[in-house]
Symmetry: C2
Subunit: 232 residues, 2 copies
């Protein structure tokens, strides 16, 4: 990792736990929280991919709301406007994964410029980050909004170079989403796949440069490398 001068993280699923909306879903529909959250997330992703391919971009919040409608319709659950609003808002109060705050603190203390690059709108990314009290960590919050297409289109990954002011080979791209890590690797970033669930990587012609099971391992690797450089 000797050429890494900056780290850019995916938000949904990587720094923040998308399954944390299941608490709000469970309150609304007892015994269905996990089922709703899983189907909702799957459809949310599908709608971002399909809308990008159809050239029918809407912002991520709209895709998320549409996916919630689908999930509840599919599961036969009645969703009134108030409940729809309150469940959708749960995506603005996602919980960070337990390993996120400490990893960000250590990397920030080491003066490594950090960013987020996400499908979310600018407003939405800011709210998730501020609501979790982690706003201090990031130099750049990068939304797909300016290119009006979702990941894994290469236009999105190109934003990281512009905004971080570095060429791709000096930016470590970190994602728990195998498809996102695949696209980032095809784009030319060094890539770290955070595989918290001991899953298998996707089969789309690229592999991550590094695989870790949690962010602490990634932080250790990065900081050891920097210490080695500084004492060399």
């Amino acid at each position: 990792m000797k050429n890494i001068q900056s780290v850019v993280f995916d938000l949904y699923g990587t720094l923040y736990d998308v399954q944390s909306v299941s608490t709000a879903c469970e309150e609304a529909f007892p015994n269905m929280g996990d089922t709703i959250a899983t189907l909702w997330r799957q459809k949310q992703l599908e709608y971002t991919w399909l809308r990008s391919l159809m050239d029918r971009y809407v912002n991520f919040e709209n895709a998320t709301e549409d996916a919630l409608n689908y999930a509840c319709g599919y599961l036969g659950l009645k969703l009134d406007a108030t409940l729809h609003r309150s469940l959708s808002d749960a995506y603005l109060r996602l919980q960070p994964h337990s390993d996120t705050p400490d990893a960000l603190r250590r990397l920030h203390d080491a003066a490594l410029p950090l960013g987020i690059i996400s499908n979310g709108s600018t407003a939405s990314i800011s709210q998730v980050v501020e609501n979790s009290g982690l706003g201090w960590a990031f130099d750049q919050l990068i939304s797909v909004e300016s290119v009006q297409v979702f990941k894994p289109h290469s236009k999105v990954y190109a934003l990281a170079e512009t905004r971080m002011g570095l060429p791709r080979e000096n930016i470590l791209f970190v994602s728990s989403n195998a498809w996102d890590a695949t696209a980032a690797a095809h784009f030319g970033f060094p890539v770290c796949w955070v595989n918290r669930r001991n899953s298998v990587f996707d089969e789309m012609g690229a592999q991550p440069t590094y695989t870790v099971s949690h962010l602490e391992a990634l932080t250790d690797m990065l900081l050891e490398q920097r210490d080695a450089l500084h004492t060399a």
Copy 2:
């Protein structure tokens, strides 16, 4: 349906039953046939969408083989090269849905030009159709191969106009895949969604013109309309 002069069908899931590969999967891995077939199909679709967005097209057979590797890896099932080949080949011997042969016969007898438009390669579409003995039905077998991108990119739907020699408003597009029907509706076809499983439609800003629960109902509608025109 008075302006319909031709019918173009989706292949995988619409005329042919993608779940029919579960028989071969079940023989290879007892009690896992349906699970493998479902995950395999889900990943196959994801890989076509994601590869299209990454501008990393491979043909459908390759995406299908990659998705099979993923599905078996995810489920912890050992897949040697021989078994991988024989399961992949099951996608070339898909069974038509039970309502497919009669619907094609009736539309063909009514001299309505019929086509297939599919993510499959030209060779693959031909094999599926020939293996099922339904080759007589189609005027055009249209593959995405010539545009090197998968559905739901609009370049794919545009092929139907060129190959059928008709403007989109005169071509009825028929699909069981709600995302495919959505994209076709956005493109401007009249669209029939074949909802055999009493499911809910996708929420991506377009609705099908017609919804039927099986192809017989669609055929009845089309032929009644033609009879009415001829006797008017």
